[in-house]
Symmetry: C2
Subunit: 333 residues, 2 copies
């Protein structure tokens, strides 16, 4: 294994977020499952958008948010995802490149527009996502730059990639390249409904060691094992994979390996505004800790800190230097 | 004078805001005048944008922000402004229409893209704007719907309209129609540099009674009279116009008429995040009070309340119902 040129490379659906603060009645009227990510087509997107109030637009996409977070801690980061060369795609590309992320995936010149997620934020801070994949569904194995992947210490994949058919193949290709270069491959389970769609495949990826590290929240963990018992599911998880992090919202996270369980508390916040990106930014801090060689406890703290920053404002991208924030709180950077 | 169908009609440059939190060094490096609005061309826009960090996008435009605020108080509002029929223009049109604002100005089908302002927010909350007018410069007298203007209790104009040549003619046409229907015409001076460019014309508009009500902040007032003495400038203002409101940031506002001066304090805030839209939302609350027939003091309080809401988050559009907020604080709605 050679020295890694990049710390973390992330692959995901490149999605521009259109966020609006609303109420629970809107979700009920629209038949939306609160807290979930629902895939929608263009017709449904137009219908939801016309019913939604005035919005705030911020670049998003789960793995992209994580990678921007990794860069905001000061690590070297690469993103792979597909936008179209349209106005929104150019806003998206600007945002990720000026966040000091290497982003070389060619934008599509034809086909559907850059993907958008219509995100409803309820007064409790919960976000409910309606995603039109658009150009993101055309991420293909050819978009994986083998040299970039081989040169990255960790390759981070989002479970959402299992939705577009070709992206799944890009995912598998990247994993093979990473392992061929003796790198680590991490996966976030993304969403409990996404786990419901691909449960057997995700379990197979873990059991065949295609994945070395899993990120999941409690709902995703329970969905994975079709269980209602977190402790029992955690035991099953430890049988299936050697390294996992389970996030538990305000209860913090649990880092599990074959021989150790480390619980880390959440970071206190002043006001919960918008949970969009909470899991993504947790992963950013944890991955940053890993590549810097911190303890699991400190990695969990870095994750908790980044998650706390992002849930106190609208949008899933950090609005401050996470490196400065970590230093301010005495965490290793 | 017939009963007004609309409470307030606003005419302005339709501008999509691209906001980024940065530091004072960025402004210095880019040679930007802190707190000002600078007009830029496409080349300069590209240069600033590539130097800027990751951004948040929210619809803006001074008069548009005011009109959205008026609607957020529950009044009936109309906006006149020019976007292009492009992705950004469609985001813009969505935002203003779903804010319950009547917006019927046809989007341009060719010519420059929808206008954008590249807004730098420094840690003190101050905003510095770099505006590419784009499609907004093609607002023409033909875009003024005489029936809408005649049916609006107040027509509200932004000083920024003096920059694009045809928009100025649209402004004058609207003012004539409004006065022909015995309605009130209000103008915000917009920006001290804008006042510097059009001082004599703005004074002439006031002295010729083209304008009935002026909104200005202290810097704009001082620029108008090329003075460094606020009290002396206020005296001059009272000679030139019968009704004016001067905002003074954290010191509140002063409402002046020929026979009365009413000082109203600012509304307390928890944290200043971004002053973008402070003056626009103050005007929204004040205009709302006027059309509801409140005292000048209550109108000032409504303005202060709306300004306080908008400066506590990024972006110049309210993120909550101003009607609910006013009720919560015991103000008339």
């Amino acid at each position: 294994m050679t020295t890694a040129k990049y710390d973390v490379l992330g692959i995901g659906n490149a999605i521009f977020d259109i966020l609006v603060q609303t109420d629970d009645a809107f979700l009920a009227n629209q038949g939306m499952a609160k807290g979930a990510m629902q895939l929608i087509d263009e017709t449904r997107a137009a219908s939801i958008y016309s019913a939604m109030g005035p919005a705030t637009q911020v670049s998003g996409g789960s793995a992209a948010n994580t990678i921007v977070g990794v860069a905001a801690f000061g690590a070297s980061a690469v993103y792979v995802g597909k936008v179209k060369d349209d106005q929104v795609g150019r806003l998206y590309s600007h945002d990720i490149r000026t966040a000091n992320v290497t982003f070389t995936t060619p934008a599509a010149t034809d086909g559907p527009a850059t993907g958008c997620s219509y995100i409803l934020i309820t007064p409790d801070g919960e976000r409910t996502m309606n995603t039109y994949l658009g150009a993101a569904q055309n991420l293909r194995p050819d978009d994986i730059d083998a040299e970039q992947v081989a040169a990255s210490s960790i390759t981070y994949l989002e479970g959402y990639l299992w939705d577009p058919a070709e992206a799944k193949n890009a995912f598998v290709k990247a994993s093979e390249i990473a392992h061929g270069a003796k790198r680590t491959v991490a996966l976030t389970l993304s969403d409990s409904f996404c786990v419901g769609r691909y449960r057997d495949e995700f379990l197979s990826l873990m059991r065949k060691n295609t994945i070395d590290l899993i990120f999941a929240n409690e709902a995703e963990l329970l969905s994975l094992y079709q269980s209602s018992d977190v402790d029992a599911a955690l035991t099953q998880l430890r049988n299936d994979i050697g390294f996992a992090v389970v996030t538990r919202s305000e209860k913090g996270c649990v880092v599990v390996t074959k021989d150790k369980v480390t619980a880390v508390p959440a970071f206190p916040i002043n006001k919960l505004v918008d949970t969009t990106g909470a899991g993504d930014l947790f992963a950013a801090g944890f991955l940053f800790g890993l590549v810097r060689g911190t303890s699991h406890e400190d990695a969990g703290r870095l994750g908790a800190l980044a998650a706390a920053e992002v849930i106190q404002h609208v949008g899933a991208r950090p609005q401050t230097s996470l490196k400065d924030l970590a230093q301010k709180h005495g965490l290793p950077v």
